[in-house]
Symmetry: C2
DNA sequence: TACAAAAGTGCAATGACTACACTTTTGAAG
DNA sequence: CTTCAAAAGTGTAGTCATTGCACTTTTGTA
């Protein structure tokens, strides 16, 4: 679509260097044992520049965000005919989880986040940001008012479900059971 | 039960002074516009002492914690015969919310927390800590393995429901609808 | 009364983050 | 090709929460 000028390209490149440096160092020595200074040095930029690109130390690890939200909304909006919303969300999460599973850093990355309280909290905050968007998509789909409580609730529960699932050994089964619960509750509510 | 010696009493008193000073200042000027130094000064203690009593600035606002957890577990364990677990939790939350509603600082306090991202996040983290305890209580009650996924899920969803409910104008109705969803999903699952 | 543990203090340091004033790069207009 | 304002980058110095340390004071108890 939009051609990027050299300027934009260089900017993105700087950003990428920083993110790469951060990921390497964090994976090697842990989030708390690496300072921003060191990351900036390795990316060959000043600390000031680093913070011009990323709003916080935690954010260095979570880059792609806008895409996730539209994917989430899309999963509800464009689901196969006849499929329930909880089902569609479950499929979406399972697909997303297994989609990246081949990347060699996926495992270590997950472990890093799980083992660092700060990062868990941050990830969760970022994740929950999508609640409103998802809630609206659901409400629109079923023809409820945009701020309908049950739609907001389903959105929240679904997003949380992902977090619970990730903490489990058998993610497939966990997803099945948790979304089963939502599925039944949601269906019963829809009838009323 | 246990009589407190003068030492313990003085310690608690110091702690209370600090918490009081913090609450006053935060309510008056907002969380981010008050420094720990100022709080310590008002409570007439050193900053070092302040941090010997509280692990962080945020924790100054959230004191009573162990009680909440046992109350939560108790709500499940000692619920009236024939009442479902989601129902019991709903009742518990509604009761807890209205129980403090008469306190004059309750409203402003809630508003302070809602309006300060840091505090929202902190409160949520503290709150979710009870997930495991609640999940175990539920599992025990229905005779499932302690780490059963559906029990953990219900616990998580119920705790999150409280958060969603607090963000709503009509909390009574919101509670009704959200726990209705959990109720139906849970009931359907239990039969299987 | 004496003494060890507990409570409190002040100081200096760390580490994330910001404000500021500055230099360098670069896209685009003339 | 020159020019110039915006954008990208830099270094310095500061703020603020939080911690480690070595120290004094208080207090329960033997």
């Amino acid at each position: 679509m939009t051609e990027l000028g050299r300027r934009e390209r260089k900017k993105l490149q700087t950003r990428q260097s920083i993110a790469d440096a951060a990921l390497e160092l964090f994976l090697a020595r842990g989030f708390d044992d690496v300072g921003v200074k060191e990351i900036a040095d390795r990316a060959d930029v000043s600390v000031t520049t680093l913070f011009k690109h990323f709003p916080s130390k935690e954010s260095l690890l979570f880059d792609e965000d806008a895409e996730m939200e539209s994917a989430l909304v899309g999963a509800v909006r464009d689901r196969p005919a006849g499929q329930s919303i909880p089902q569609a969300l479950k499929d979406h999460f399972v697909r997303a989880a297994t989609g990246h599973a081949d990347h060699p850093l996926f495992g270590p990355f997950i472990r890093l986040v799980e083992d660092t309280p700060t990062l868990r909290a941050y990830q969760r905050t970022m994740w929950i940001r999508h609640e409103t968007a998802l809630a609206h998509a659901i409400a629109e789909d079923v023809g409820a008012p945009l701020d309908d409580v049950r739609c907001a609730g389903l959105a929240r529960f679904a997003l949380e479900a992902r977090d619970v699932i990730f903490g489990r050994a058998d993610r497939e089964k966990a997803a099945e059971e948790l979304f089963g619960l939502l599925e039944h509750g949601w269906a019963a509510d829809q009838k009323a």
